[in-house]
Amino acid sequence: MKTFPIGGVHPSDNKKWSCDKAIEVLALPDVVNIPLGQHIGAPATAKVAKGDKVLTGQLIAEATGFMSANIHSPISGTVTAVDLQPNAQGLRQMMITIKREGDEWMPEIDRSAEIKRECALDSAAIIAKIKDAGVVGMGGATFPTHVKLSIPNGCKAEFLIINGVECEPYLTSDHRTMLERGEELLTGVEILKKALGVEKAIIGVENNKPDAIANLNKIIKEKKFAVVVEPLKVQYPQGGEKQLIAAVTGREVPPPPALPIHVGAVVCNASTAVAVYEAVQKNKPLIERVVTVTGKDVKNTRNLLTRMGTPISTLLAEAGGLPEGDVKVVNGGPMMGRAMVNIDSPVTKGCSGITVFSGADVRRVPTSECIKCAKCVEACPMGLEPYLLQRLAAKQMWEEMEVERIPDCIECGCCQYTCPAGIALLDYVRLGKQTVMGIIRARAAAAAAAKK
């Protein structure tokens, strides 16, 4: 079975808590908060003001430049504020607040359940529709999909890889999507193929989801889709873009600033393919997504189809509330998710799950000294030396960190997971990456200014 060549860890996947729970539609929220920056790139520019009436699916914020994404209203009602509000980390962020009145949709959105397979549009028209609908990568990185599909000059796409790996423990939203919305997903894949002009489309799925693999294969056979499902070995971070490309095609993406397209690959998340289908065939912008609410002590784990901007506390209440005692609520999964301090913060485009930890899982293990056992080096899927990077970051030796290829780090957390001394490697590595990337950007800006 295929997998990526170096590093990786195998945490227990803990998907059993929610993988059998069918997707349910969450009741419409009464108030939503929509952050203007919920994708990689420039935050969108608000197009509504306080007091404006909006319909479900109406454009409320427009992409600021190429590397940005449109945002649409997930409910119908009145805009009550466009102001700074705390996000999940407590940081103040611009958000549009909408109070719900009924559920009136924009007339051009097709809300029927019927699956429309034929797509007469050409590549440019498809990409334009995806851009209008504000589709971004829904695996968590929230890279605008239209940017990914716009192939730079001199490059040629050979493969479309659909990321159905969902290697992050606990999360099951992509799994349920592949099981329950397989045909829409595959239609989305065909549309993406057309947009890219590629022949080959491969869906990579980790082998711990045999039902999803069987379901997709069944639909491919019955409805004659030209798509291949590739079962992959269960190993974290199989769903990392570069790891997935290596696993499926055997090609290695060169270090940044090279992109996957330089080896001919374009990777999209499975849920993104469904969003692409809805955007192109149903004129439906990205206003809802499946969010897994899970955790060992969560009474009623769920996979909820949620409108964007719904407070996360509503989802937690729907799942039976928070467990007793100290808890840690993480936006995302345990490996790459981020702990939250504000559970009233909204669901965003990149929010695939909410994981609740309780009891002994809440706090970190006690740390001891590094004995240079090099387990972190073995685990690093990018071939870095995390123990060294940690020391350099602690000593603020940023130039040396750049030499040690810190920009390559994908922040997967394998190093910290595997460290027997419990050292917070990722804390340091992240700080180092952030600082070094800042230095690199400043240098590039200075060079650009000198050129002028």
Binding site: P86, Q89, G90, L91, R92, S313, L322, D326, V327, K328, V329, V330, P334, M335, G337, R338, A339, M340, V341, I343, V362, R363, R364, G413, Q416, A424, L426, D427, Y428, R430, L431, Q434
Partner: protein, 289 residues
Amino acid sequence: MGVLSAVILYFVAQKFKVEEDPRIDEVEKMLPGANCGGCGFAGCRAMAEALVVRDDISALFCPVGGAECMKKTAAYLGKVAPEKEPTVATVRCGGVCSKRPRTNEYNGTKKCSMAAAFYTGETACAYGCLGYGDCVDACQFGAIKVNPETGIAEVDPDKCTACGACVKACPKGIIELRKKWPKNRAVYVSCVSKDKGAVTMKACKAGCIGCGKCAKVCAFGAITVENGVAYIDSQKCKLCRKCVNECPTGAIVLKGMDPLPKEPKAPAAKPAAAETKSAEKKESVNEQK
């Protein structure tokens, strides 16, 4: 063999002798030798070189040695001594534990830079002191410490040399170099929160709510209110202390002096105390993993 080598080495040393201004050594001796980098140079030697080489040394200043040290070196070199008012690092946060309740627990690496890169901090205030002591690590003079009782960094003005290392180290931008008055007197707004008044009040009872009362009472135009927070310009302030009594939350701190007697008509109400923490949700323990 040894004698031969000595002779060769002597001639080599003569041939490749580096001519250096002997004054550099002398000037370096006059400098404090802290090598803190507060002057903007890599160390005291580099500063000494600059002092010797440059004709106009008005732009150079050693914050550690201060005016006295600069006078001495300038007199030795026969140049005009640069002048600069002494300053002192000031931590502008008054959110002590009793005034700024904890809403979560940070379980990550205890460094301000890391906590700040990740989230806002253990309280509802997004601007306040985190208390993990990046400034303490940066200070070479032992002048700044985190008070375990308040959880906030405190500067010892007698030890502070105003080198500015803590100002650079603080990710929240709380520390400022302010004019140093005799007897360590000071009046400053001990808050940098840009939140709206109600939000600030909810997060911290000692926060500046941007009401502007202090700015109205100031006779010297030293106080400006911008982005919901007041700021006292230490160059314009004359330490009249009128603003201290006006502040409804006690965000304006007075040091080294007695406050003005309160006017009898002022009821000395405490509006901030009424605003207690709303029914807090579960404690969410925080960690970056």
